[in-house]
């Protein structure tokens, strides 16, 4: 099974699970159709389409051969996973550390992850970028544009 088949199966499972949940929704006396009416149409449609995708994938004749050059390109998935991880940590840290500290750590950490600093100059550059981003965004948004940014429960900062 190819990526299409896997994606189709995942959407089919999600659609059927949600469809089953809509059966528990009670109709409202105020409107002729209940809150489950429209979701059932949507989920029925996505279930049918994903089933179609799975069937089409199973029926597709596979040809074995050399992959095109573009497909052979090695992609850096560990770096993507780590980048998502660092962002998730940032999202978790924001309400505890506050915008300025969390942003300083996130920008510095992400920059170092994507382009590991070489020598003291590299580290200084990463620190300056992190500090400038945290300070400038805070100044522009909170001070100038009056857009509130998260405050830290631990730091009150």
């Amino acid at each position: 099974m190819s990526r299409d088949g896997i994606a189709g199966l995942a959407v089919l499972a999600a659609s059927l699970a949600l469809f089953a949940l809509t059966l528990d929704l009670k109709d409202s006396p105020m409107v002729p159709v209940g809150p489950g009416f429209y979701p059932r149409i949507v989920l029925g449609l996505t279930a049918a389409l994903s089933l179609g995708l799975v069937i089409a994938d199973l029926l597709t004749r596979r040809t074995r051969g050399a992959l095109p050059a573009a497909a052979r390109q090695r992609l850096n998935y560990p770096l993507v996973a780590m980048s998502f991880g660092v962002f998730a940590l940032y999202a978790v840290a924001l309400p505890w550390l506050g915008f300025r500290i969390a942003t300083f750590l996130f920008v510095g950490g992400s920059n170092a992850l994507l382009d590991p600093p070489r020598g003291a100059k590299g580290w200084v550059r990463a620190l300056v970028l992190a500090l400038a981003t945290a300070a400038l965004t805070w100044l522009v948004f909170e001070r100038w544009l009056s857009v509130l940014l998260p405050r830290g429960r631990w730091t009150d900062f």
Partner: protein, 507 residues
Amino acid sequence: MFELLGTALVNVAQLKYLAPLFFGTLAGVVGGALPGVTITMTIIVVLPFTFGLDPLQGLAAMTGVYVGGSAGGLVTAVLLGIPGTPSAIATTFDGHPMAKKGEPGRAIWLGVWASFFGGLVGGAFLIFSTGPLAKFALEFGPWEFFALFVFALSMVAGLVESSLAKGLLSGGLGLIVTVLGNDPVMGQQRLTLGIPMLEGGIDFLPVLIGVFAFAQIMSEVERMGGAARLVDAVDRSLSLAVSHFKVIREILSRPLLLLWSSFIGLVIGVLPAIGGSAANMIAYDQAKKLSRHPQNFGSGIPEGIIASESSNNANVGGSLVTIMAFGIPGDAVTAVMLGALTIHGIQSGPLFILQNPQLAYGIFAAYLLAHPLMVLIIGLAARYMLRVVTVPKAALFPVVLVLCVIGAYALNNTMQNVYVLLAFGLLGYAMVKFGFPLAPFILGVILGDQIEINLIRAIMTDSDPWLFLTRPISGALIALSAASLAFAIWQHYRHRAKIARPAEADF
């Protein structure tokens, strides 16, 4: 109309509005010029800056981004052969060869002035057609709105050449997002999955920001290794000096090409979610087909640049018409603008121009004034922009993500939207990896509630389902939806047959 427009032009020409318009246009030009940074990403970055501004200031900034971004892509397309945005791909075909032949200034300015004139054609269409189209849309009942939104969704899903099923499924996934949380008619809780965060439903802006920003950034990150830059090295000794009079005469001496390409851009802009990337390619293709010397295309001729650039800026006018008259975003950029309107409590759609004439005409004025600003900015900064494109990705991406977080958090000052941003960032990246198009998904998220509300309203008014087909406008729109899907299926098989033909010839 002209009185309102005149007042709006005077109003927007004041520093209070001109400054955000200028900085928006500058951001658009720079963002458009950066390969790997689309206009959508630029407008997402600019969005949080508009929260503290009044609605017209914010929308002026966003209009500036849109106009500037549509033209900015030509700078790197011409000078480096790398289109800054997908809407400048066709500009590369003749712009870069012309630059390589020793005429970089001519190539750049042909593009800039063609963008300017194409944009003005788009502006005329925007100003003269939005009001009548909105009046026409006021005749719509729930049946017509339901059919219109279904048509928009079917068109976008059908445009995916590789797989119609994936296009439709992507739109369906977007609709699923809108059924989680609460019923928009009665406000009853449904499908919350026991997650408190879902009880109030999901705002579409964090979804849009997450899907587009992460899909794009992570697709770049996966190709990175070390100090990757948007562009590795540029020649900074280029001279872009040119006689503007000559260049303008070169463009205006081809009025049919300019008008036809602008018309193509407009039509594609009006159709939901197709955008400038298709407009420039189709206009280029049309210019080539209609030319007496099609063999010269690709060798560095002005016609190729004029067709591509006039169409992508006229496209902006078309997209703005769709959002202002019908409340349907023409593309991801106008989807963000729709979000900005919602933040300020303004409802887009047929009543928008009637209820907010000053704001509507303010947008028209901002659109018109953004064009001379774009010419000025590119004139002053084209050479320096080549330095900006050497910015390291490792420095750019974290900063963009911080701005995305601010944009999501500041919508209602809760961390919930930041978590939604992350969750949909993961989903957006997964969709890209599995070959699902993002445009139908986003349109599904934006239109889902309205589709449901209008469907239920129609049923509450009259339970006869045949009304969707027997009412003339609704029936025509449903027929168009079916026709667009049939056309997509035909196109899909033709595309597959085209791919199969050379393979068969090998045997």
